[in-house]
């Protein structure tokens, strides 16, 4: 039944709805607190876990780019500069939650048990890189922009349908907020009060298109208003702020409070992908400015000032990360290729009779060409 009020016959109905968009940030660029800090800021273990994820991701990134440059990996999308967003997300999600990512959330994925070898396999052109041994229900990387957002809503709908205290989280970029599916899914999540978190990784560029040409709205957080759900902005390069706000959003969803949109303001310090050359469209000074705000340094300086961390530990961590990454790269490079016929083997549960001849033909051609 309609909830609209009947056509008014009173005076003074001028303002019928009011909204505000809030921003949260705790650390300045040097890692000093600018306001009262949330609980996590005093939990060294939690901070170190975030920090570790960020360092590991960055190390992984560097290796991936090196592999790509040497012809051992396909096009690769780096997460350089955005590590805090993904580390925080990994930290606040529970194993039974479901991540529906786009393609930069290595930090989150690794914390959830996706292996670096799997990630290398994916970008190395091998479907097995989407068969995560760890988080079996997480969606794989999604390339067609924003198409995963309705999946996340569907996952959340299934969770709600079954009355499970689980949460679906989907991540996408600033560019993705221009796609219809994003709005459609956010709107539906609002209608059904779904346990869903929509995390916008606003790294301020969509390939060569700056945030200002993507939308006239002052914030991306305010897109939530169109869906009747809550939306907020967070300093995406402040791991403490990200943890704080994402855990609030995830908790709220888990406790029946419904969906929220979190806009993480961060910056893509790298090219869009290894196939891109950002110098065609982006000024060097802009990048330089943003290096001052990069998240790893900020959290490290905070932790060091608090004496939660020191340079020796840091060196050790860097080394461990390098070793882990190297091992994963080796495992990737040593992975035996899939059989060509495998392209038929996961198409349907059972290969339809009519496709058998095509599979056979492929297997024969292949034997011929190997022979």
């Amino acid at each position: 039944m309609s909830t609209e009020k009947p056509i008014v016959d009173e005076k003074d109905l001028e303002c019928v709805a009011k909204f505000e968009v809030r921003f949260t940030g705790y650390l300045d660029k040097d890692g000093s607190a600018v306001r009262r800090l949330p609980e996590i800021a005093d939990l060294p273990d939690a901070l170190i876990a975030l920090y570790r994820s960020m360092v590991l991701t960055r190390t992984f990134d560097q290796k991936a780019i090196a592999l790509q440059r040497t012809g051992n990996l396909g096009t690769y999308a780096s997460s350089l500069g955005q590590e805090a967003v993904f580390a925080a997300l990994g930290a606040v999600m529970r194993p039974e939650d479901v991540l529906v990512p786009y393609y930069r959330e290595y930090g989150t994925q690794l914390m959830r048990g996706v292996t670096m070898t799997e990630l290398f396999l994916y970008w190395g052109g091998d479907e097995r890189g989407m068969d995560y041994a760890g988080p079996r229900q997480d969606f794989p990387i999604c390339v067609p922009i924003a198409t995963q957002v309705p999946h996340a809503a569907g996952v959340a709908l299934a969770m709600k349908y079954r009355g499970e205290p689980r949460v679906a989280v989907t991540v996408f970029g600033d560019g993705a907020t221009s796609k219809g599916e994003f709005y459609e899914a956010a709107n539906a999540a609002g209608v059904w009060n779904l346990p869903l978190v929509l995390l916008v990784n606003n790294n301020q560029w969509a390939i060569s298109v700056p945030r200002s040409e993507q939308s006239a709205c002052q914030t991306l957080a305010q897109k939530a208003i169109a869906a009747g759900i809550s939306g907020e902005q967070v300093d995406g390069n402040d791991a403490i702020a990200m943890f704080d706000r994402l855990s609030a959003a995830v908790d709220k969803a888990r406790n029946g409070g419904g969906p929220s949109l979190v806009e993480a303001i961060t910056y893509r310090l790298s090219d869009h992908t290894t196939a891109d050359d950002a110098s065609r469209y982006r000024r060097d000074e802009e990048i330089k400015t943003h290096w001052d705000y990069e998240p790893i340094k900020r959290l490290r300086q905070y932790m060091i000032a608090k004496q939660y961390w020191d340079s020796q530990q840091d060196e050790a961590l860097q080394q461990t990360c390098r070793r882990e990454v190297e091992e994963a790269a080796q495992a990737y490079l040593n992975t035996a290729p899939q059989k060509p016929e495998s392209m038929f083997d996961y198409l349907y549960e059972t290969l339809p009779e009519t496709l058998r001849s095509q599979r056979d033909e492929l297997a024969t051609t292949e034997q011929q060409s190997r022979a």
């Binding site: 569907g154 299934a158 459609e184």
Partner: protein
């Protein structure tokens, strides 16, 4: 046994499977209290509740995308698109996601969803309500495309579609939703999804069709029989993957084939069938394979739709041509 028309059979299959499997969830526009604009989902919300029969916001890409997410969690969403004319926003989801989820994840995640939509012309519907674009979906690897042509097949094939572990596009020929009643035992028995159905045996010519056009095709076969031409009539029913064996075997027997469909000719599924015959059955042919189809023009508004849709006469004429060919 109850006598059901096609849309009632759809409803019965939905109700049966919802009662049998609580993972089955129906969603779409107006499928709830309204029971769908054709009443395919009538009574389901009342019986199974609002959690299981969801009126969605008006957004087709969403409906498909939601279903992918739900299916990945082990639900069996049966989504309704109100008319095929509004199905195109789902193509992205069906092509890039639903059809690939199993393959991309090497079987880790699957997508047991059904996307139902009424399709086809002939009911004097408004603009954009009468098209037949089944071949678009039949081109997409990893999908199944199923079209029933009778109440019994609607019941059995829809049950099979819902139970199938992979995504199925289930297109319902709305022109025959209420054309005839048939005894349909509501016993939950499904029909196989990997076979054509031979509706009538004959030795002179093979008529291949699906959906509503089978009715004109059968009438043509009656008329031809009176003329002494024995037509074998095949209901393709499962358009993707398509069981060409049955068709090729029939053509091997008859040596002649006429394919009948409503969709525009160029790149319609009739082309695929004709191509397969040209590839595998060429030497059995006494005459060229003919296609009697919708024209390669926009489906006209309803005043002219009768001229667009292949009628009995066009089918009979085509058969006469292949019979007389030499």
């Amino acid at each position: 046994m109850p006598e059901l028309n096609l849309v009632e059979a759809v409803n019965a299959a939905l109700a049966f499977e919802m009662a049998a499997d609580e993972n089955v969830v129906v969603l779409g526009e107006d499928v709830g209290v309204n029971g769908g604009v054709f009443r395919a989902t009538v009574g389901l919300q009342e019986r199974f509740g609002e959690q299981r029969v969801l009126d969605t916001p008006l957004a087709e890409a969403l409906i498909a995308g939601l279903s992918v997410g739900m299916a990945s969690q082990g639900l069996r969403p049966v989504a309704e698109i109100q008319f095929m004319g509004f199905i195109y926003p789902t193509v992205d989801q069906m092509l890039n996601h639903a059809s690939r989820l199993r393959n991309r994840t090497r079987g880790r995640l699957t997508c047991p969803m059904v996307l139902r939509a009424p399709y086809g012309g002939g009911i004097h519907a408004p603009e954009h309500h009468s098209e037949s674009y089944e071949s678009m979906f039949a081109h997409i690897p990893g999908l199944r495309v199923v079209i029933p042509s009778s109440p019994a097949r609607a019941y059995g094939l829809l049950l099979a579609a819902i139970r199938d572990p992979d995504p199925v596009v289930f297109l319902e020929p709305k022109r025959i939703y209420r054309l005839m009643k048939q005894e349909v035992e509501d016993n939950g028995a499904s029909l196989p999804l990997d076979t054509c159905y031979t509706l009538r045996e004959g030795t002179d010519v093979t008529l291949v069709s699906w959906g509503a056009m089978l009715h004109e095709t059968q009438q043509a076969a009656d008329q031809l029989e009176a003329e002494g031409v024995g037509a074998e009539v095949i209901d393709v029913a499962c358009l993707k993957p398509i069981d060409t064996r049955t068709i090729l075997d029939s053509v091997a027997k008859t040596g002649r084939c006429v394919i009948v469909h409503e969709a525009a000719r160029t790149s319609g599924l009739g082309a695929e069938i004709a191509a397969q015959i040209a590839e595998h059955g060429l030497m059995n042919l006494y005459a060229p394979v003919q296609r009697v189809t919708g024209y390669d023009t926009v489906m006209p508004l309803y005043r002219l739709e009768g001229y667009y849709l292949p009628g009995v006469e066009r089918i009979v004429t085509a058969v006469r041509q292949v019979m007389e060919f030499s």
